[in-house]
Every structure is written in structure tokens, then in C-alpha cells.
């Protein structure tokens, strides 16, 4: 059941002086079970890309399909296909509108046409995933919650749609480190339990290295690198720097150690790097 982008080109404000081509001839395929991180500097086209993946923008050229169904068609099948792609926008708490947490999360499932029992089950499941206790939060006003809690309500609103493909646009933006870790823990739990595809748009290389199984690097409206994060951070540092991006801090530390004559393998895990350092020292002392 792949999510497929075929030769997609998209231009903003066509025919005006503000015209800007955001995507040019992009093709890619995302399978269920993948955790894809999308990185690229602001204006690289990554937001435009994910809006195409969720059927919110219509490509000027090319097509977007889920399991062969064109997302931009105007029929029931296309609507169902669009609902199978969930999208959590940046600062999603800014889209909360209902009087209670329950009502806001139930918005999506109801739009899908689920019956009351199914809606209730979807809301409860979604709240459990984001760590909001149903009994204490369901009836509360979402506008009285803390920033981190509002973010969770908003994410739950998309999870409750039970998408096969979940797009998250910088879900940790503006949160403090503790809430950041909590949000990712919840997303990982959902990813593992439901076997869905997660598409994570991020500026944070560490997040990309830590969570993703596949990394897409976007620059100038094109996918310039597509592969395993570790491979890209190890072997394509120059391309990343050229596209004004960087490698995660733990890779930088490894590079720094290598440059000073301490031969370590690059690794996404700090613990693994520390282990290598300890072994090197042990070997040195043994001499």
C-alpha cells in the first residue's frame, strides 16, 4: 500500500511577479512501516512536498496516489485515500477549536463518517497514545491546558483519524526538552504498534538520526539525497553542508575525534561512541 509521488511539479502564485517553483519533477514512494525523516532548510520545498503527500495541494504536473488511487480526484475513493494520510501541521495547537478536548479529537473521526461508538473508541485510543488520561482531560477545555498538553490534544486529533501514513511537521517546535522527548516517545509507540508510515519533517538532525529509518534531503525543490540516515550523515556530509544543513552533534564529535587521531567509527548513538573511546583507551593502556 505505497504512497506514491510521480513526477510532481508545483509552482506558487503562478503568473504573478511572486511566482516560485517549489517542487520540480519529484518522484518518490513511501511504504507502510517506514519512518521517513524529511530535512531541508526553510524554502527548500519540504513543506510543499508533504502538503502534496496529504492531498492538500494539487500538483501542476504529475500525480500523487495512495495504493493507486489519485488523491486529487473528486470521488469517494479519493476522499478515503486522503483520510488515510494524516497531517500534523506546525504548532497544531493553533488549529484547536472545540469546547472540550473530546469534541476536538472527535472532529476527524466524525468527518470520516464513523458511528458514535467507533468515534468514542478512536478518541480514547488517540488520547491513550498521547498520554492524556481520558477521565481527567476529556471534558476539559483545550484552551486551558499548558502548551505541551494542547500540542498533544492536537496530535491526538490527527491520530484519531487512524491514518496509515502520519505526517508530522516539526512536532517538537517550541517545546522544552522534556515535552519534546515525550512527544517522540508517543509517536514511536504509535509507529511500532500500528505499523504505519511516519513522515517527520524536521530541522533537527539529531531527531532524524535517532528515529528515522529513511532520510530524504530536500533542496531547491528536489530530493537530493534519499537513503539510510546513518549512511547520509557518514558519507554525504559535503552535500548536506552545501544545502545549508549539518550532521547531528554525535557525528560531529566522532569527526573531531578522528581529526585528532582517535580512530572511531561514526555512530548515531552517543553510548556506542563512548564505548569505542573506552576501548581505545584500554588498548592504549595495554601497550
Amino acid at each position: 500500500m505505497p504512497l506514491n509521488l510521480q513526477n510532481v511539479t508545483f509552482t506558487y502564485m503562478k503568473g504573478t511577479p511572486f511566482e516560485k517553483t517549489a517542487l520540480s519533477d519529484v518522484s518518490l514512494q513511501i511504504e507502510k512501516g517506514e519512518f521517513v525523516a524529511v530535512i531541508g532548510h526553510t524554502g527548500s520545498g519540504k513543506s510543499t512536498l508533504v502538503q502534496h503527500l496529504s492531498g492538500l495541494l494539487h500538483p501542476d504536473k504529475g500525480s500523487v496516489t495512495v495504493d493507486g488511487v489519485n488523491l486529487n480526484a473528486k470521488n469517494a475513493a479519493a476522499k478515503k485515500a486522503r483520510n488515510s494520510v494524516g497531517m500534523v501541521f506546525q504548532y497544531p495547537e493553533h488549529q484547536i477549536f472545540a469546547e472540550t478536548v473530546y469534541e476536538d479529537i472527535a472532529f476527524g473521526p466524525r468527518n470520516k463518517g464513523l458511528g458514535p461508538d467507533e468515534v468514542d473508541r478512536a478518541v480514547r485510543d488517540a488520547m491513550a497514545f498521547v498520554g492524556l488520561d481520558f477521565d481527567s482531560f476529556a471534558k476539559r477545555s483545550p484552551f486551558r491546558l499548558s502548551g505541551g498538553q494542547m500540542r498533544r490534544v492536537a496530535i491526538a486529533g490527527v491520530i484519531a483519524m487512524e491514518p496509515d501514513y502520519l505526517i508530522l511537521d516539526e512536532p517538537s517546535a517550541g517545546l522544552d526538552p522534556r515535552s519534546r522527548d515525550a512527544v517522540f516517545k508517543e509517536v514511536m509507540a504509535l509507529y511500532k504498534k500500528r505499523g504505519i508510515a511516519v513522515i517527520l519533517v524536521t530541522h533537527n538532525m539529531e531527531e532524524a538520526a535517532r528515529y528515522a529509518s529513511r532520510l530524504l534531503v530536500i533542496s531547491g525543490g528536489q530530493v537530493i539525497l534519499d537513503g539510510v540516515p546513518h549512511d547520509i550523515f557518514t558519507n554525504h556530509k559535503d552535500e548536506l553542508l552545501a544545502a545549508s544543513m549539518d550532521v547531528p552533534p554525535v557525528y560531529k564529535l566522532a569527526d573531531c575525534l578522528n581529526a585528532h587521531g582517535l580512530p572511531v567509527e561514526r555512530t548515531p548513538e552517543l553510548a556506542a561512541l563512548e564505548k569505542q573511546i573506552l576501548e581505545l583507551r584500554r588498548a592504549k593502556h595495554a601497550d
Binding site: 532548510h41 526553510t42 524554502g43 486551558r144 499548558s146 502548551g147 505541551g148 517546535a173 517550541g174 517545546l175 522544552d176 526538552p177 522534556r178 515535552s179 530541522h203 545549508s244 544543513m245 549539518d246 552533534p249 554525535v250 560531529k252 564529535l253 573531531c256 575525534l257 581529526a259 585528532h260 587521531g261 582517535l262 552517543l270 553510548a271 561512541l273 563512548e274 573511546i277 573506552l278 583507551r281
Partner: protein, 277 residues
Amino acid sequence: MQNLIEIKNLEHVYTDTDGNEVKALDGVSLDIARGEFVAVIGANGSGKSTLARHLNALLLPTAGKCIVAGMDTADDDNLWNIRQHVGMVFQNPDNQIVAAVVEEDVAFGPENIGVPPQEIRTRVDNALAAVGMTDYAKHAPHLLSGGQKQRVAIAGVLALEPDCIVLDEPTAMLDPRGRSEIVGTVKKLNREKKITVVYITHYMEEAMQADRIIAMEGGRIKMQGTPKEIFACVEELHAMGLETPLAAQAAYDLRQKGVKLPQGIIDDEELTEELCR
């Protein structure tokens, strides 16, 4: 060195939407010297923003004193004078730009305090040059990047020729490029123009640039010291819900495993050097 800001036993109590009294600041005492670059860190709700808003009398103490450039913020007559001495940059770049043209926005502050037109022009040009936005003087702010907008906001504050700039999480909504633009700009203003900086942030790599770090928790100052001193306290920072720079974390872990490393390692170079020794 003379103190620009003197805070004594500052308390701030407010009533939240449910009618409960909340103590956002609970006995904060702090001196900030002229020309100093101070970073304030702490989890959400630790009171760091509330503290910042006392520095230019946007909030007033419910107990204790806040003295800025010799003036008590609680005294109404000092209000506009204090706000000229201490400028403030906020988190959301969109919500602090008033005008639809960059240079007109930078002129907003000096216009408010009645600076003559000729001098406003000079101040605006200088402020834009100081943040590297001269080329964008005639641009519309909503078409700029986040980092550029935030630099415009800094220029808008600079045009008031303040002694001190308080930045309340200025990079929270920016991408990495924007973040480094802001940190670079702020460092330059501190070094070259001797402007006192109070910089609130969640990002430890930004806090590392400061002369002194204040770590807050529950409305109190939990720790303060140089970046080297603060980031040596890995366990305490974690307990406060804060991160440590990677090198400091690695040094801590290695020390736990019996590697002899001195205190105060906070960057990759220092760590590598010690390990090569």
C-alpha cells in the same frame, strides 16, 4: 564594573484563569553588570519569561525590588525612561513587527519617544547595519525569513539606543540557520557595542555563548555560573528537565566509567584534546 540591573528578593504573584494564586517568581536576587551577556535557562513554567518582563517594567514586582540603571521599575515616572534603557525582543517574530515596511518598523520606537526626523533616519540606518539588514530596508516583513524578521525586531529595539536588550526565547520559532543568525547578531552587539544582553533560551548551545548562565526552576534561581560551571552539573540539569551539550554529556559518562577527565569540558575540541592527552 557597575551593575546595570539589581534585583532583590523579587516576587511575582498572579491569579490564573481558574482563580488560583500562582507564584511565578519566588525570591529572586540577581545583579547584572554593564556589558555582561547572561543566558537564562529553565523548563517551561520555571519563571524565566516572568523575570524577563520585570526588566523593562512590563510586569511589576508584587514584592521585592527591581532596579534598572538606578531607577526603580515600580516608580511610574521612570516607566518610559526604563523602556528606553532596556529593549525587549519576543519569541514570535510576526507579532512584534508593527509596520509593513522594514525601515518604517525600525523607526517606530524612536518616533514614539519624539526623536527628530533627521536623527531617526540615522538611527534606523545604524540599527539596520548593526543587524546586517541594510539591504532589506524597503522590504515587506511578512516576506522575510524567520531569522530576518527577528533581526528586524532587534534593530527596532536598537534604534531606541538601549543599554540592555532582553531576548525572550528569540530562536524558539526559528530554523537552525535563523538561530545562528540571531546568536551571531546578539554576540556581535554584546562584543562590539557593549550592549548588556539577557538571553532566555531552551537551546544549550546558545546558552554556551554567554558569560554567565542562570538556571531557573519553580520561580527561583537554582544555579548560576559560567557555562563551564553550569554544564558540569549534568545530573542537576537533567533533573530540571534540561539538556546538556553533547561533549559535556560524554565527559560526564566517561568520568562515570573511570576515565580521568577534568571538570568544565563543554565542547568537542576540549573533550578531544583531553582524550588525546
